[in-house]
Subunit: 342 residues, 2 copies
DNA sequence: CTGTTAGCGCATTCAA
DNA sequence: TTGAATGCGCTAACAG
């Protein structure tokens, strides 16, 4: 672990000169010393000490990526390709920019604030922030923050957020259902409370139904349990009386696929007896038969967009776009019955 | 951002005393000052500066988690629940131990060495290290390293590795096939080169077949392409002549499920026309019909075990177990035809 | 173009 | 039981 001082000594120059070489301040160094120092740097295998840099510069080149989710071991979250895809995208982008990625899972905003201070984080990505906590976080962290898939109270503060056109997604899927002659639906939500993305998607469904003069009641919003046993029990009640529930509009492909398999195993035909749709267009929607009609989102692109926006902020650039909503695309497969035919 | 000096000033004591309070050196501080300093610490919202700590102590409380994989965007890798599950497990464990997790993807050993030095990493987790590079890494990093799912040349050096009893997995699945009257198989490998986990699994199959007096030739080992188009083309050749390939023993549930769906879409019955097995027992093996017979591994437990071992090493404890092989378990579902019946 | 120097915040040794 | 002093490696302002 050679230090700048040692390099300077070996090269017969001052630490400042070495530092200038290191930082590409070539106009401050004569070509000959530049080459000489670079040579020593290489031969001595100089490695910067980030502790010292952090102390001297009061930043770290670390991007903190905070996932707001239940701290408990949750199979459905861990097996969801969303997290691995967006993490992979972010890691790759952060690395390209020459930064480092620190990952942390929490649901405690104070912890986030502490983390940012302790590590002098250059920027933060906050994924799935509950509405209630985002003020405090934003107020206490004087570093660039980009939210991902987070929704906010309208308090006039402009948050940088990379989200999805959830409302549009709900609208598209509902309009498709209506076009296929469906007149009632049950929205199976990921979140217990009707807020954020789920709320927007449901609102989109409502809008489409309203356009046809149909009112979608609030009780058509039903959260799916995080507990697989409870979930299976619920699918059971559907299996017992498939026609009572209307079309099943899931807010996640994972649950849609799970339900589809359960119902099929119980002898119920999809879409003959009941129609099902998903949301995400991930691997699960392609791994069931019939293929799941769903709403596509580009998760990898979402990760890239979040880091790109954060990097602009880190570099002090102005970023006028605040709440970016990535587009959705209806993916029509075969899980919805055409009720208009015949 | 209150510093120790400021706290000391406010409390009317010296920085040393504050430091002692911070580190729980209570025997060196009188009860009254202890309480007093703690009070100030709280009210001033003291946050340690990791840069300073790194500089002073020459370590960082950061665990570096390095994934050795292709730097390119690879759908099959990103959508594989393995990475998200093991990451989730590790993040959770690292956090419990009071450490921080830095994630990095690379296939360049020098980069790993640099990272360890630059960040004074307290320990490293190296996932999927290719055989060729592990010497250099081990030699150049004088910090605890735990490998995950890595295989080594037998050079007498004892590496700390958390792996899987891959050989046993291959053996179990092959023995099951033999018991069901199967007499030939094709091993569909994840890696292009027959090494590491794939090699061990294939060797396990070989052993089971050898026990029945059947020799499994090297050409029964066939790597599956990472390119989905090529993969589909390959599945096509199977569909054209299903009986020519024998039983399909995949080294990953993902590919097994993908192949199963493709073949079924082409009208081939599983397991009637062709039998298929997987490896991992992840969500995909449960999301296909018939359910995929496969080999179970506890990925979450693997992550936990890796961090537990690393933490022992970080704390200077001796860890006699070196190459830990987590157990496998045969998961019998319905993708293998019983050829003994009738 | 090059060198000197003063911190950054903390741990730690030694002195009181 | 408490305090003063030193140094970790680097940056940046300043002096030459």
């Amino acid at each position: 672990m050679a230090t700048i001082k040692q390099i300077a000594h070996k090269a017969g120059v001052s630490p400042t000169t070495v530092s200038n070489v290191l930082h590409g301040n070539t106009e401050k160094v004569s070509p000959s010393t530049l080459l000489h120092v670079q040579e020593i740097l290489r031969s001595e295998n100089y490695t910067p000490n980030m502790g010292a840099i952090m102390l001297a510069r009061n930043n770290s080149r670390i991007i903190g990526v905070i996932m707001f989710m239940e701290p408990r071991r949750d199979e459905t979250v861990l097996e969801d390709p969303f997290s691995s895809t967006i993490m992979g995208a972010m890691e790759s982008e952060i690395r390209k920019y020459g930064y480092f990625m620190m990952i942390h899972t929490t649901s405690d905003e104070a912890e986030v604030v502490r983390l940012a201070g302790t590590w002098k984080l250059d920027g933060l990505i906050l994924v799935w922030v509950p509405e209630a906590t985002n003020h405090i976080i934003r107020k206490c962290i004087n570093r660039p923050v980009v939210f991902v898939d987070s929704y906010f109270d309208d308090d006039g503060i402009a948050y940088h957020n990379i989200g999805l056109d959830d409302e549009r997604g709900g609208y598209e899927i509902a309009r498709y259902l209506l076009a296929k002659g469906h007149r009632s639906m049950l929205f199976l939500a990921n979140d217990t409370v009707a807020t954020g993305a789920d709320r927007a998607r449901f609102d989109g469904c409502r809008r489409a139904f309203a356009e046809q003069g149909i009112t979608l009641e609030e009780r058509s919003y039903l959260p799916v349990s995080k507990d697989s046993v409870e979930r299976i029990r619920f699918y059971g009640t559907i299996a017992d009386n498939p026609s009572a529930f209307g079309t099943l509009v899931f807010s996640a492909d994972y649950y849609a696929a799970e339900a589809m398999l359960f119902l099929q195993d119980r002898g119920i035909r999809i879409p003959g007896d009941i129609s099902i749709t998903g949301f995400d267009d991930n691997v699960f929607s392609r791994m069931v038969r019939p293929g799941l009609t769903t709403v596509h989102q580009d998760v990898y692109g979402k990760g890239q967009a979040a880091i790109a926006m954060l990097m602009k902020l880190v570099k002090g650039e102005q970023v006028p776009e605040h709440d970016v909503r990535l587009p959705v695309r209806l993916m029509i497969r075969d899980s919805v019955r055409d009720r208009t035919a015949g």
